[in-house]
Symmetry: C2
Amino acid sequence: MSAFPLPRTDLATPALLLDVAAMDRNIAAMAAFARARGLALRPHAKTHKSGEIARRQIAAGAVGICCAKLGEAEALAADGVGDIHLTSPVVTRGGIARLAALAARIRLSAVADHPEAVRALAGCGATIFVDVDPGKHRTGVTSPRAAVALAQAIAEAGLTLGGVQYYCGSEQHIARFADRQAAIAERTAYLRTVLAALAAAGFAIPVVTGAGTGTFAIDADLGVLTELQVGSYIFLDREYRDCELAGPRFEQALWVDSSVVSANTPGMVTIDAGLKSFATDAGVPVPASGTARYAFMGDEQGALIGEDLPGLAERVTLVPPHCDPTVNLYDVYHLAEGGTVTGAWPVTARGRST
Amino acid sequence: MSAFPLPRTDLATPALLLDVAAMDRNIAAMAAFARARGLALRPHAKTHKSGEIARRQIAAGAVGICCAKLGEAEALAADGVGDIHLTSPVVTRGGIARLAALAARIRLSAVADHPEAVRALAGCGATIFVDVDPGKHRTGVTSPRAAVALAQAIAEAGLTLGGVQYYCGSEQHIARFADRQAAIAERTAYLRTVLAALAAAGFAIPVVTGAGTGTFAIDADLGVLTELQVGSYIFLDREYRDCELAGPRFEQALWVDSSVVSANTPGMVTIDAGLKSFATDAGVPVPASGTARYAFMGDEQGALIGEDLPGLAERVTLVPPHCDPTVNLYDVYHLAEGGTVTGAWPVTARGRST
């Protein structure tokens, strides 16, 4: 491993670079927004998978964090995070045994979307949320009537009902703000019918958790959610650079540094970051400066195509396309302060998808 | 960690499953093919990143392995692999220092494609290959004249010329065998002009290394390559299932096991393997049995859409779309013998892309 501080140009590439000061400003801006609007903030740690970053979010005012998977929650709990909400259903026998073991050690909540799963969770020690499908059919109950049936199953199993989870994933990346706002308003009208059915059946819903970086300001205005699960705001990425956001301004805080390894063809150079260095589900990374465009060139390389290209062995800084699965490819964040790398933080829960 | 043996249905999912017996048959079949055709076999370890698998390939007759990146080679050398060819140029000052340190410990060869890079490699201790661009412009010299100039630079730098590398990456996945054969024949005609220019300039080329799982039988028939860099044949994947291959028959040996986590919508269920469990550059995984199709549903989940779907908490086995970057997402191979998991092997060089 490298000794720090280190000139950024001496770091072996491809490397994931984090500007901690910019990230801390993003953390503070979102915490101030939530505080001002009277909302609980529970950032999603599937974005960063880092104990250090989760602790900074909580220190800035978050009530706890979200994890997508049990393995991620186990890793972050082992790294000192004491309040976690699991946003994906845990349904297997082995998973529920692990969930109960974790609930004995930290403050844990989880979601369910099927009465059969609720019965299997009886005695697990976690608070249970009714996961409501916002229309994507990924997870969640699909009608107000099913929400009530699930809340009844939770009560019958002797479990504590924590509230409702409603995460509109598809809507986060609608590029035009007005279109996104209209979509969320329509989806929130549906959520109101679910909450009304639960209230009519006598269920108190202390927490309604959801929202992401693309919609939190819209959700705050609509006033139905009580808790924000925002994730990507701490780093931003190429996807969110292309979205019109509202609310506080966030800064790009995450990059991948790469080096030119071949420069034999006019109008292009090859760099050492390819399919194993960037998530590929959301298009291509973009160079942090200049006009060249990136193209994937296989597992280990990419091309920069354009004019004013860097020379052989020179550095290129890129903005990742989709931050969450990109971070999951790296073992460490290298901490950048201008041209100096001052240290490294482990990606604590990298690969913890079970 | 789990204790083994373990029923496969008890393994936490998503999990990478390897059928060692099928893989060993693939290793033996390719070794027999190379032996029968008088070709050296140097499998590409970027596919598996595993010291255990590399040692099995060498024990079956491979002369050594290929690595794509120096970090990968360092990890496999530390795991006992003693003969490695690096297929990507190393050009940075820091990279060359690491390359020299590695060459002092194992038998190492590397590629170069620029006289400036060759000068920087002087004294590194590795044998150097002339990397020849087959037309994709990823890496490699782009003309017979440039190949000769590079060989001269290698001689002038006091380095040992190991031969020529010629890897036709784009051609590996041409679906129709006849089309692939025609493309490789045309590209090999060009390679002959490069080799003729080197011979005319007085350079002996002891090794011509290249080929992949899509083209090795074609390359063997054409008779120009002396060494095969095949990678994916040990596992196969969805991409190669869709290709008409020639030569020995290989078996599917690698899967991802997943579990159903939500089943509320007719005609679909949600499983626990998404963008962080499969490479996304080559389309979608396919279920190992049945007629349902897979769709990505975000970082942590996918959907199975169709009829005869598994129920809540039931298992689903999938064939990964592109094996190399999929393996890179996992820390371990779980070893499957029918319905039993008998152990786990580390993905030794996972994430070692620098």
